[in-house]
């Protein structure tokens, strides 16, 4: 066996393909990493050097000045972190529970209304009222403008995740549900005590999808939270820093930096690093769950 594994793919064209593969994948992987290096390098470059030489992959004049100003008045960034963390934690916990409960119920073969309700949920991906009526609903009828709930609520459920949970739980034999019923357990008890503990990989995957959605959320924040709000979700905060120089000028003024010395460009990048860094550090540990998730979601649709 060992020997046959080694003689596989040893003709000349296979060798060429293998070399091309290593080179191509290496180039692609590096090109995925470089933009991040660029951001970090720029945040560590002195403003004078940026104005003279532009952005570079390696700081020509090293400086931590931008970070010092960012961390001198960390209140707004910390506030943004807390807001985003709060929304992410609550949204993921509640959303995950609802997705799991709905997904399980909808795949139960003995549930008479499952097809009707499934279509009712699925139809929302086919046809929608669009963003304008949605905007009016949130602002005029639910009165959620400048309320974190406007970001939290719409992200709780998505038809895609419910369908994904449905196909995950389909792999749990129905006989387990049936035998629990004979033992006198109700449907909700079965879900809580049997199904939830058995679907931890599914829950991890779907939970990560929801959590990442909330962490990178920016569209609803942009629509419903005005820039006058003191603590905005992280991505909206970053967007405001990048597109308007006000925040940078304000925090520089608070640190007694004269206006002409404000490191505008490097502070944008430093803020981006501070806002994104933790996710990137966290990400290699959760990556395999995403692979699981997308594979299952793709196979069953």
């Amino acid at each position: 066996m060992q020997a046959s594994m080694n003689v596989r793919h040893t003709d000349r064209s296979s060798l060429i393909i293998r070399i091309v593969s290593y080179v191509f994948i290496a180039l692609l992987a590096v090109s995925c990493l470089l933009p991040f290096v660029l951001i970090v390098a720029t945040s560590l470059t002195s403003e004078a050097s940026i104005l003279k030489n532009g952005f570079n992959l390696w700081p020509k004049e090293f400086s931590t000045y931008a970070y010092r100003i960012v961390f001198e008045n960390p209140e707004l960034i910390i506030g943004s972190y807390i807001v985003t963390l709060g929304i992410t934690l609550v949204g993921t916990a509640v959303g995950l529970f609802l997705v799991a409960m709905t997904g399980y119920a909808l795949q139960r073969p003995d549930f008479h209304f499952r097809n009707k309700i499934s279509f009712f949920i699925y139809f929302t991906t086919l046809f929608s009222g669009g963003i304008v009526p949605f905007y009016l609903l949130i602002t005029q009828y639910l009165h959620l403008k400048d309320n974190y709930l406007a970001v939290l609520l719409p992200g709780l459920l998505s038809p895609f995740l419910i369908i994904m949970m449905k196909s995950f739980t389909q792999s749990i034999p129905h006989a387990i549900t049936e035998s629990a019923k004979i033992d006198g357990a109700g449907d909700f008890t079965i879900f809580m005590r049997l199904i939830l503990p058995m679907s931890t990989p599914a829950l991890a995957t779907i939970g990560l999808f929801i959590a990442l959605g909330y962490w990178n959320e920016w569209y609803n924040s942009m629509l419903f939270l005005s820039p006058d709000m003191k603590y905005r979700p992280l991505q909206l905060f970053l967007y405001n820093v990048v597109t308007s120089a006000d925040f940078i000028r304000n925090s520089a003024a608070a640190s007694n930096v004269p206006l002409r010395d404000v490191p505008l460009e490097s502070m944008k990048m430093a803020t981006a690093v501070v806002a994104t860094g933790p996710v990137i550090l966290f990400y290699p540990f959760v990556q395999r769950y995403f692979i699981q998730g997308i594979t299952v979601g793709a196979v069953k649709g």
Partner: protein, 323 residues
């Protein structure tokens, strides 16, 4: 199954019996129904309630009179969109970008999946995959910032390189012609690694004995890919293609908005898509009716597209059709 079979043949005299069984079903399934209730309420509130709001497309909405007090103008909003050329530009841009995303994206994903499969070093495979997925996990805001980092006229990396080679810097943000390339490249950069997992998983499912048998018969590396792996991936490709066709009128708002910037009118000819137009009509122009008209157009045609795509799925692979 049996139930569906039996129902049509039930005589009308038994309707009362039927009603009785309906209530019994309702009662027997009450816990499962309750478990679905939050989701049903959620979709009623956030998805179904806004639908009648599409009525906005047929009125001249003004804030003081509200939706039902504003003047009804029929199809005038649509007439204006057609006559101004906006509708054509939005449709063309949205569809053309999506087709490019779908075709180039899938081609590159298949290519990457095949290359990944050829790698022998486990460590190299793990590290490169981790790096290739990275762009998928960051926010659209950061993507916009990265693009600015590379493309900005004064400080961008691109112009730093051009200048160091003694060439003229390019004014990216006022040149509509190069944006299709930038947007498509950014999309490919962001989605290729992540999207390739599906194809990679499919290749993993290929029986290695088939490959070995082909090699014993004298197939070389190119032939192995050309005659075994590619045909093996064809069903996956067709399914993904048909599913994505359903969304061909839906744009990637975050990508476009953050790459191009909020109000860069110079680039609209090549970068304006349905989503960015609707967003602008909502947040900048407060022209709610025009935005709704475009949304309604998008929803109706999108719906027609999904039905067509589903019809195609049914034809090519009946097991995977949506309904």
């Amino acid at each position: 199954m049996n139930r569906a079979f039996a129902e049509p043949s039930v005589p009308s005299a038994l309707t009362k019996q039927n009603q009785f069984t309906f209530w019994r079903k309702l009662r027997n399934n009450r816990t499962l129904l309750m478990m679905c209730l939050p989701a049903v309420l959620f979709f009623i509130l956030f998805s179904y309630l806004p639908m009648p709001g599409l009525y906005l497309a047929f009125i001249n909405y003004n804030y003081t009179d509200g939706i039902f007090g504003s003047e009804f103008i029929g199809l005038d909003n649509f007439r204006f969109l057609v006559e101004s050329g906006d509708l054509w530009r939005l449709t063309f841009n949205t569809v053309a970008y999506n087709l490019a995303f779908i075709l180039l994206g899938n081609a590159l994903q298949i290519f990457v999946a095949i290359m990944l499969n050829e790698l022998r070093s486990k460590f190299f495979k793990k590290v490169s995959q981790t790096l290739m997925f990275l762009p998928h996990f960051i926010s659209a805001v950061l993507i916009g910032l990265i693009a600015y980092n590379i493309l900005s006229f004064d400080y961008g990396l691109l112009n730093s390189i051009l200048k160091s080679m003694g060439m003229e810097p390019v004014k990216t943000y006022s040149n509509p012609g190069i944006w299709p390339y930038i947007i498509i490249l950014t999309y490919l950069w962001q989605s290729t690694g992540y999207g390739s997992i599906v194809y990679f998983a499919a290749i993993m499912g290929l029986d290695s004995e088939i490959v070995e048998a082909a090699e014993i018969d004298g197939a070389n590396g190119f032939q192995r890919i050309r005659y075994i792996i590619l045909p093996w991936l064809k069903p996956t490709f067709i399914i993904l293609l048909l599913f994505s066709l359903g969304g061909v009128l839906r744009g990637n708002f975050g990508l476009f908005y953050n790459l191009v910037g909020a109000n860069n009118t110079m680039l609209y000819s090549t970068t304006d898509i349905i989503e960015t137009f609707v967003f602008r009509s909502l947040m900048n122009n407060f022209n709610f009716s025009m935005g709704s008209a475009v949304s309604l157009y998008q929803s109706l045609f999108g719906f027609a597209f999904v039905l067509t795509a589903n019809w195609l799925v049914k034809k090519f692979s009946p097991d995977n059709s949506l309904f």
